[in-house]
Amino acid sequence: MEFSARKGTRHNSVTATQIDKPTEQLESVAIRFAGDSGDGMQLTGTKFTDETALAGNDLSTFPDFPAEIRAPAGTMAGVSGFQIHFSSADIHTPADRPDVLIAFNPAALRANVDDVRPGGMVIINTDSFNEKAQKRAGYEGDPLPELRDRYNLVEIPFTTLNRQALVGLDLSSRDIDRCKNFFALGVLCWLYGRPMNATERWLGGKFKGEVLEGNVRTLRAGHAFGETTELFPASFVVPPAKIEPGTYRNITGNQALAWGLIAARVQLDREVFLGAYPITPASDVLHEVSRYRHFGMKTFQAEDEIAAVSSTIGAAFAGHLAVTVSSGPGFVLKQEALGLAVMTELPLVAINVQRAGPSTGSPTKTEQGDLLAVLHGRHSQSPIPVIAASTPGDCFHTALEAFRMAVKYMTPVIVLSDGYIANSSEPWQIPDVDGLEQSTIEFAKPIDVGEFQPYSRDPETLARPWAIPGTPGLEHRIGGLTKQDGSGNVSYEADNHAKMIELRKQKIDGIASSLPPIEINGPDSGELLVIGWGGTKGSITAAVEQARKDGLDVSQVHLRHLNPFPNDLGDVLKSFKKVLLPELSDGHLALLLRAKYLVDIQMLNKIEGQPFKIIELTDAITKLYKA
């Protein structure tokens, strides 16, 4: 093999700078890594992301897993993908179409190649392209000849090269083959001038001995291969982005949610109790939080979602910052208990990381289909505030805000995230901890004489007191039966019933007065408003900015507070001739806005388990604009 000699002789002397080849400057690149579930694509993608972040680009990623369970090796069902988009300019999405695809086997190729921008680069692992594998993937015959015409097809025997790089190591051949993704990572790092220090540091922390040596060696070998092979005539440079000054890190939505809960624990100075039952894609929040017992984060893996939320309400009653997290099917099971939290007016946070349904659906895919369920899924009138996070980093602030709101208004608060932002990552400007508001919770004080009134209210917020067990003089009983105003005793009286319903509604509606004015991206009034919520923010922002570049008078509002709506929302909506609302659902927010404001909102609904492509949005904007 001609490759082996070169690599064999050079792999110890590789550095992070290129010497022999020209570089070409690009504004942005999108790369998709694709392979079998066992090929380590998520890890490869993540490491490339870390290096890219450190190189100062703006970036956005999108991992796209197969179903939760391992599919047979080499089948379409088992393909795992990770896309990263990085740029010297501001970007908002992982890009509609990748410029580069790395396909580790025929199934990965077949599942992804049509997404690649025409003329883009397609890198394949030739070692995995044999007749049997092609058949497994569903190809009839050799797909490569045809692809050579459409794409810049780069054929690299990753498996062979990796084996050669690791000759002499005391590793099983299985362990050796497992390293091949790092060879590919090395190649990519060379191609885009990424440093590899972070990856090597990470490897050093993760592995020891021969395994460490193997991974590092193949990573460097890949880099060297890139530099020397004739397959790549040049390398590329994507200059750092002009980003607001600050300290940044990569973060996924789930990690940010977990850290937001930790921030609540610190900023509100009270221990956190997280009761949860594992479910895709929410489990990682439980995993992440359970690593931080030294912060006073208590996690409880309950026997089911009902126990998860019930324990959470119990913890809230006992005075903890209590939170529960789940995804659609699990969230729905919590609704009865959440009704009790409404009746007993206890503060807690319930997070729903939405996934594609209905029923078990497509658990690893994304959707925004649970908005109506979280708002209206409890029997009777049972209002709960809802806040939706819009980007991975925003999850941090959303979790923190939710807890502040819960405690201030003595109410459960629902946080919506989704599978897309849960697993995607973006560079996140680390907030200045000293600048975060620090507050202390005011529990009801012990009393010596007189009857304690658990349903007395703060005249401004209408919150009732948080009176926790262990406090002398405040002994009282709460429950799900209709409560007497003030005393909280059981009451069956008609007027009181109506009054309590009304009071609870007023309390939640009253939160609107504490919300900031709506931020409008673009002019305050005009031809077309694109309004959205949740994880579609990146795509919508990109599309709106594109449309404005194309000369259209388009503004954008991205709603964060879905219950109550901000007080100025009606006016904002009515300031535009047309309103477009793209949702990854059959139009949940649209229903609410149309009902409340009687505005003829146009819906752009997509329910494919996938986020919006920018082009889908720009097309819809243009069409509606010109209609």
């Binding site: 972040a53 450190l54 540091r201 607001e244 000054p245 600050g246 300290t247 940044y248 890190r249 990569n250 850290w259 930790i262 921030a263 610190v266 900023q267 109790f273 931080y292 017992r293 030294h294 912060f295 208590k298 409880f300 309950a302 026997e303 009902i306 126990a307 998860a308 019930s310 324990s311 959470t312 309400i313 119990g314 913890a315 009653f317 006992a318 005075g319 903890h320 209590a322 009865e336 208990a337 009790l340 007993t344 680390i430 907030p431 000293d434 012990p446 926790i468 067990p469 262990g470 406090t471 002398p472 003089g473 405040l474 002994e475 009282h476 009983r477 709460i478 429950g479 799900g480 059981v490």
Partner: protein, 341 residues
């Protein structure tokens, strides 16, 4: 008698101002009275006591206790209690549930609370009926019980709460009966003393929908033969003078032998009651003693020590702090790879 007034005086402190809403003659009244009588003797201030319940006649209980109380939703009380204990492990938390609330809709939470050994007292009022919803059969109803929902008789084999609790790994299991005030108070005290989940089945009469199901055990005439009063270290003897009988086990299978009044039961092979038997096996055999073939064991069947969930949770918090220091938010946010622009 002499001490009565003093006890009565302090019992009042535990009585809430709410009207008690059970049918006349309901066994729940006597259970309430006994709990209210026992509480002052436990040495826990009222503000540190929480009663948690589900839904059912029995689950009205918290309203009548002048303590913290949470009347939650149907079947889930143990899960609420778990959250309370995880947050404030030092509270004395009592769960009140019924045969429907605890064993029908709530069976799963009972199972997991028991196996986790959450340090709470679980009082399951067993009237073998759904009282609150006006008399459907319950998971403990006898085969053939005719109710509104089983007009031709129930066909579900009943579950035995004690066997179930033992199958879930219960560390403390006891049985008592609504009408026997002294016995119940003893059992309640023992339950309170136990560190871990103390599961107590309280046989309770529902005069409206299932009257008389426990008569054999209440009636002076039949009581001695129908019940087996357990005492640690004492042989399993019942029946009373002239009708004395004992329980022997053969390869795990219990049977009854007749004893003369002058017999030494132990010499005759009668099993000696051992609450602390290391394996649940012994208590498991005891639990299979059921009417009419056997007397019904009342008292503490099992009381063994095991770590509680909330203690272990707190230990993890403490050891994490020991090892890693108290968490620092700024440090966390800046951990791993960061870059500054």
């Amino acid at each position: 008698m002499a001490a009565e007034p003093a006890v009565k005086a302090s019992r009042k402190d535990w009585v809430s101002d709410q009207d008690v809403r059970w049918c006349p003659g309901c066994g729940d009244y006597s259970i309430l009275a006994n709990v209210q009588r026992v509480m002052p003797e436990l040495g826990v201030p009222r503000e540190n006591v929480v009663f948690v319940s589900g839904i059912g006649c029995s689950s009205r209980f918290p309203y009548y206790m002048n303590t913290y109380g949470f009347h939650t939703i149907h079947g889930r009380a143990p899960a609420f209690a778990t959250g309370i204990k995880a947050s404030q492990p030092e509270l004395s938390v009592w769960i009140v549930t019924g045969d429907g609330d605890g064993l029908s809709i709530g069976g799963n939470h009972l199972l997991h609370t028991i196996r986790r050994n959450i340090n709470t007292q679980i009082l399951l009022f067993n009237n073998k009926i759904y009282g609150l919803t006006k008399g459907q059969y319950s998971p403990t109803s006898d085969l053939g019980t005719k109710t509104k929902s089983s007009p031709q008789g129930a066909i579900d084999h009943p579950i035995d709460p004690i066997s179930f609790a033992l199958g879930c790994g219960a560390t403390f299991v006891a049985r008592t009966i609504d009408v026997d005030a002294k016995h119940m108070q003893q059992v309640l005290k023992r339950a309170h003393e136990h560190k871990g989940t103390a599961f107590v089945e309280i046989l309770q009469n529902c005069p409206v929908f299932n009257d008389g199901i426990w008569d054999e055990l209440q009636d002076r005439k039949t009581r001695a033969e129908a019940s087996l009063v357990l005492e640690h270290g004492q042989p399993l003897v019942f029946g009373g003078p002239g009708k004395r009988k004992g329980i022997v086990f053969n390869d795990g299978i219990p049977s009854v032998i007749d004893l003369a009044d002058e017999d030494d039961p132990i010499a005759r092979g009668v099993v000696v009651h051992d609450e602390k038997a290391p394996a649940a096996s012994y208590a498991g055999v005891l639990a299979t003693l059921q009417r009419p073939d056997f007397p019904m064991p009342v008292g503490v069947l099992r009381a063994v020590d095991k770590a509680t969930y909330e203690d272990e949770l707190q230990k993890q918090v403490d050891s994490a702090i020991d090892e890693r220091g108290k968490g620092d938010l700024k440090e966390l946010l800046h951990s791993g790879d960061t870059w500054t622009i």
